[in-house]
Amino acid sequence: MTEMVAGQQETVETPDASREELTLATEVMQSMVKTSKGFKIYLPNNPLLTRFVEELNEKMGKHLSLYGEYRLDIDQFELRYKGKTVYENRDPKESMAFKMYSDGIRFVIFSEGLEEYELCGFLEIVGKDRPSDVDDDIVTLLWEKNFPHLVTVLTDDFLEFDADVGGHVAPSSQQEKITGIYTAYSPEEIPPSPLLIPQKILTLSDKETDWLRKAREADEKRKPLDDVIQIITSILVGEHDPVVFGEFVGIMAKLAENLFNSGEVRYALNITWFLGNLARNEQIPEANRAEIDRALGTILSPDTAKIIARTIDTSELLSPDKLRDLLLIFGPPAVGRMCELLGLVEKMKMRKVIIQVLCEIGCDAPEVFIPYLSDSRWYLVRNIVFILTRIGSPATLDSLMALISHREVRIRKEVLGYLERVPDPKAKTCLLKFLRDDSSVIRIRALQILASTRCTFALKPILALTTSEQFQERDIMEKKAVCEAIGELGADQMLPLFREMLTKKYWFNKAKEKESIICAVAGLVKVRSASAAKLLEEVSAVKGDEIRDIIIQGLGAIAAESAKGVAAP
């Protein structure tokens, strides 16, 4: 608790009141602070709060009946009663003194006859925590309440005007000017007959009274914000001057942004859709529409992205279709912010929508995505790589290459996909790096890509892999993938290698032998030539049943492949 109510400690100033008076004043303040806190903690009907209020009312009543008024001098962080500090709190968010002081109040005076509702009303206004960006306004709230026994004195009240501006109350002679009238005025001028207003013009008829009542009700019901939006809407629809139009488009976009930020999401969305529709309206001049597009791109800011993400995750305000529409309205200028949004949204379905849109509208400037590749959120990076893969632009290759050794395997896998897709030959060379990746899944995938894209330059490095010591430790899937790549890339040249694998004897390790044969068969299937088939047939004759089945399956695969090959052209 940072709040300090004066207790035993003495103040430096010499108070100009009796000890009893000051003690009572301090007690009143203590009671006020307690009650004010009570308002924040308890429900209005809480018995404890009721007791606080009663106590305060009693103390204040006693004070007022004894001393006539309870007047507090307000300093920045302190409240003083007749020179004695009775309250001090230096936390601007909490301090009653600070709140009143910063609003321009310098004194507050409670006077005899003060009623409980006034005290409570005062505490509720002054005690309430208010966000600091709200422009005042304790003064207005108190002013509106019009408490009869509570007076506030403001700094402005001390503002006096010079006598020569506002002071000359005493009439001064204007004889000269009056004489001017008498010389200038000619009695020949015929004055108009005096205006006589019939009674019916002065009193409202029942119909008129009724109209006025309805007009008041209608005004009361309408949100002023609706009218403001309507006003700007009408300006945008009716104004043709490009400069004015441009200014108001900017104003409208800013309004939408502010409304997002103040939580008026529905309004903000409506404005955005309105602008979006306007941008698609062919009757609007081309230049003005471009202006709208530019402005629309500014609505999505880091702050609004947060709000929209929260809206997506916690409400049904935006369906996937609506979200898609919204993002398309924000358009290419907002791609960067949409990445931000993508990083914030949790709902999978909606993330997909965002990714989809980014794939569609991000292709013209894929470099916008680059900064997000170094984001700390792996899932975002992964999505961005995915998007860049879909866009498939070589322009982002260098940035993506930096991710080859990213610690998150899912990102590396995504990068692999990009490298596969991007037509740049440099990308393929990069694939080689993945052959030494920590993850076997990635290594296998890299092998498959190198094989399927027929990167013959990879043959040598792949062959080199097989001789490494680690290679023997790899599981069969990977070994198979290596052999397949070798078969694919090396073709008939690799037959001696496979023959050796098929025929090598592992005397004490039947499993190893089987593995070697499986791998060789896989490789030969990829070679898929007549020589490969011949080799397999040859070997199958000398092998046992189990091995023979594997080989026969391989032969079947080759036959199917070549049938496909015949059928294809």
């Binding site: 002013w143 402005d156 501006v165 204007q174 009056i178 009238i181 005025y185 005096p194 009674q199």
Partner: protein
């Protein structure tokens, strides 16, 4: 024993003198009701009152009449009325209660002239049941330079009298002027900031509008009278404050709550904020506008919206201000400007539009040829009611200001000059307001005699309303 007797006798004598004072004062008031100031009939009762007052002072007693618990007292002595004096007692007691006067003290040095003026104040002020009646009474005494008669107000229960700080009254009069200047100051500051493209701060303006509303509701002063003050070279500042005052007066007639009035006052005060964007060379052009210049002038509602949209946070207040700035030239039939597909007119828009037009027509501004006289302006506006001005709001507006609004400079058929102080409560007599005569038929400045033109004994009628600005007369000094 002997001294006791003497005291008793003294007291009896004092009661006698006191009763005589009350009776004579009663006769004086009655005469004042029936004869206009300056009539010879008033002289005898006046002399009698003064004689009694002097007699009391000679005895070193206080010449005061006091109401307490249903009795009249002189000093501390209770005056028991006899059958003959009963009427006088009841009348004086009734009059004092009506004006919430607790006591009247004729202090040494009081002159016949002062007593006479004092007596006429009773017929000059409408004794409406409001604490303001007493304040008005005191103010009138000050206006009429009645300094040797002191009043105390009747206590809240109508019995006890309470001391009233005289300086507070002076304060009341000053306060109304002060709030006008403060408002001018606030709006000029905002407009100047707007000109320089700085962020607009509404807080100060809100405060002054709030004090204006307080004064309006307390009826401490007739705010409409304040619109006669001209204190700033820049027309727009005076105009803005005047439109604010006139709009508030209408809003009060409608019965708007305090927060609503605050919004209305602010919207009215800022209705022309867009003009801060218009070059001064056009704004202050001493001649008629060209077509192009008109087109630029007509941009000010949109310029205003643009400026106001830059305010931090769009709350109800700033929204209302924006709506006011946008709507005030649209007109009821939307024949005004800006011409846009916007077909709505809020009550605020309707109110401000009327207040704006009225002040625009009646003020002398640089680009206006001749400012219209209030009655002509009303005639002009009435002719356009329904098309341009809202008929209902227009009615309320006329109710606020009358035909000759406060501050109107009138030439009477006696060739006297006067300034309107107050409208007759009876609308049928609005062409005969209560006025302050400021010059006699020869054009000689007078002491500011009050006259009720509706009173047949007054025998003066309005010839014509004159333009005080044309002759550079400051009418405000007679009113506020």
């Amino acid at each position: 024993m002997e001294s006791e007797l003497r005291t008793e006798q003294l007291e009896r004598e004092m009661i006698k003198v006191g009763k005589a004072l009350v009776t004579n004062f009663f006769v004086l008031l009655k005469t004042a009701q029936n004869y206009r100031e300056g009539h010879a009939a008033i002289n005898a009762p006046l002399e009698n009152v003064l004689k009694m007052v002097k007699e009391i002072h000679r005895r070193n007693e206080e010449a005061s009449i006091r109401v307490q618990r249903g009795y009249l007292l002189m000093g501390e002595i209770r005056l028991k009325p006899d059958a003959a004096g009963l009427d006088a007692f009841n009348f004086i007691m009734g009059e004092m209660k009506r004006y919430l006067i607790g006591s009247i003290n004729f202090t040494p040095g009081v002159t016949a002239e002062e007593i006479k003026k004092f007596a006429y104040i009773f017929s000059e002020i409408e004794p409406i049941p409001s604490p303001q009646t007493y304040v008005k009474f005191l103010e009138r005494m000050q206006q009429r330079m009645v300094v040797h008669i002191e009043l105390e107000t009747l206590g809240e229960d109508g019995e006890e009298s309470v001391e009233v700080d005289e300086s507070e009254l002076m304060d009341n009069r000053k306060k109304s002027r002060k709030v006008y200047y403060q408002t001018i100051h606030a709006i000029s500051e905002v407009m100047d900031n707007a000109k320089m493209g700085q962020t607009l701060r509404l807080r100060k303006s809100k405060r002054v509008v709030q004090s204006m509303i307080d004064q309006l509701l307390a009826a401490e002063t007739n705010l409409v009278g304040l619109t006669t003050i001209r204190c700033h070279d820049e027309y727009t500042y005076n105009h803005s404050v005047n439109v604010c005052i006139l709009s508030l007066a209408i809003g009060q007639r409608i019965g708007f709550s305090k927060p609503k009035l605050c919004e209305l006052g602010m919207a009215a005060l800022f209705h022309d904020i867009g003009k801060s964007e218009i070059p001064l060379s056009i704004l202050n052009k001493p001649a008629e506008f060209t077509r192009e210049e008109w087109a630029i002038m007509q941009q000010h509602p949109l310029l205003g919206v643009k400026k106001l949209m830059k305010l931090k946070g769009l709350d109800a207040l700033s929204s209302r201000i924006i709506i006011g700035a946008f709507e005030h030239h649209l007109y009821c039939d939307f024949s005004g400007y800006p011409r846009l597909p916007y077909k709505r007119l809020s009550l605020f828009g309707r109110i401000i539009s009327i207040a704006d037009c009225y002040d625009g027509l009646t003020s002398s501004r640089v680009y206006s040829r001749t400012p219209m006289q209030p009655d002509k302006a009303l005639r002009y506006m009435l002719a356009r009611t329904g098309k341009i001005y809202d008929p209902v709001i227009m009615k309320l507006f006329i109710n606020c200001i009358g035909i000759y609004p406060i501050g109107t400079l009138l030439l009477l058929d006696t060739r006297e000059l006067c300034v309107v102080l107050e409208n007759n409560p009876d609308p049928e007599k609005w062409n005969a307001p209560r006025v302050k005569i400021i010059a006699d038929s020869q054009g000689r400045e007078t002491g500011g005699e009050l006259a009720d033109l509706a009173d047949p004994r007054c025998a003066r009628t309005v010839m014509e309303a004159l333009d005080p600005n044309r002759y550079r007369i400051d009418v405000s000094q007679y009113i506020v």
